[in-house]
Symmetry: none
Subunit: 244 residues, 2 copies
Amino acid sequence: MLSGLSDLRVVLVSTRNPLNIGAAARAMSNFGAQRLRVVNPYEPSFREARSAVGAASVLADAEEFASVGEAVADCRLVVGTTAAGRRELRHPLRTLEAGGRLIRKHLTVGPVALLFGSEKIGLSNTDLSHCDWLMRIPTRPEHGSMNLGQAVAVCLYELVRSAKVERTSGKNQLPEAQDLERITQLLFGVLRSSGYVKPRLAAATEENIRRMVRRLDLNAVDAEVWLGMLRQIAWKLENGALGS
Amino acid sequence: MLSGLSDLRVVLVSTRNPLNIGAAARAMSNFGAQRLRVVNPYEPSFREARSAVGAASVLADAEEFASVGEAVADCRLVVGTTAAGRRELRHPLRTLEAGGRLIRKHLTVGPVALLFGSEKIGLSNTDLSHCDWLMRIPTRPEHGSMNLGQAVAVCLYELVRSAKVERTSGKNQLPEAQDLERITQLLFGVLRSSGYVKPRLAAATEENIRRMVRRLDLNAVDAEVWLGMLRQIAWKLENGALGS
């Protein structure tokens, strides 16, 4: 009955306090989400967190990753969470309610990653550059920052709340995050060979490109086509003088 | 903006762990509820709970009572919370969603008490006898019992949820068709120079690319960026051997 979250990956990025990882696992178990992913936890011993009451299996099965890119590689939609009040965001920002609807729809066709940043600073700009869009929990602007375990609980509640099964046609399949990352890397390489990327700004440019590629909202078929086009352009830029 | 919860009293009954009281206070502050009431807390020193990050005033202003009856005496509606799966209940049981709607309605006319029981046993039958009805958070029957702070957060989220107006960004201006056509032509030229376009299929490929560029759904700002990137790639492909 409360399934529907079996394809959700809850991704905790750079979490400081292992008790918060345990608390997140407990909320996941309460609401029927089983797949926890942990990126660079501060305490490697998080699997013993006593706060995971009744959720030992979620913690035991948690997967560890060294980077956000690897943690979301097999997901077709990557959503970041944020407190109210960050104004510099260059991503589409959805309310938890509207975002939850979209996530539920995507969960009927493939894996979705839901990212939570560290207790102090949330998701970094690099983390955010992996996200398709962001979701905001409607906390007060004067006190936006939630406890991590509570934030996870609220988001998962929203996802199961109106667990009406929504069906979507299989033909609007989304690309996996790793395909979008390949497009990002190919495009970045092509732009570097072309002299578009200022060496001093390379890191920022790469993040901008990653964000822009995600804003394209490619479907899986078009993503393949873009990969093919960019590979050909990259090849030509490397071997140009010889072939022409 | 997120007021509306000023007449809500969050009532924690027989809480064992003072950290849970602090966590509840933090969630209250996040969602704009200020009136905490504590009945027979196990640790009288709960006001120092470090988990009340950013919510020191909620804890400081918390009122202590010796019984549920006293704690809810001035309220016009008293609602108990419960995990799924308790079968012996003799009270009307509402989903959090339906109950939340009713509570919001009552909050416009007077104080409402929302009761949370102790970590181990929840609300006792005596506690329940003070309630008008009960509200159930939709956790899994196999693992119904939530962390107290998380349960408070989820309930308060539901209460503020639909009081929100969705923000849409005004900078979602669309590019002019002529910009999309410029992108199409530049991309087509780059792909032709790269050997991607089979001469025999050039016309069909051009159409496919035009359609694909339109599917990107670019906004006006991103369209400019793509134009710049493609111009640079095209320039490099033409002048590559000389420049490199």
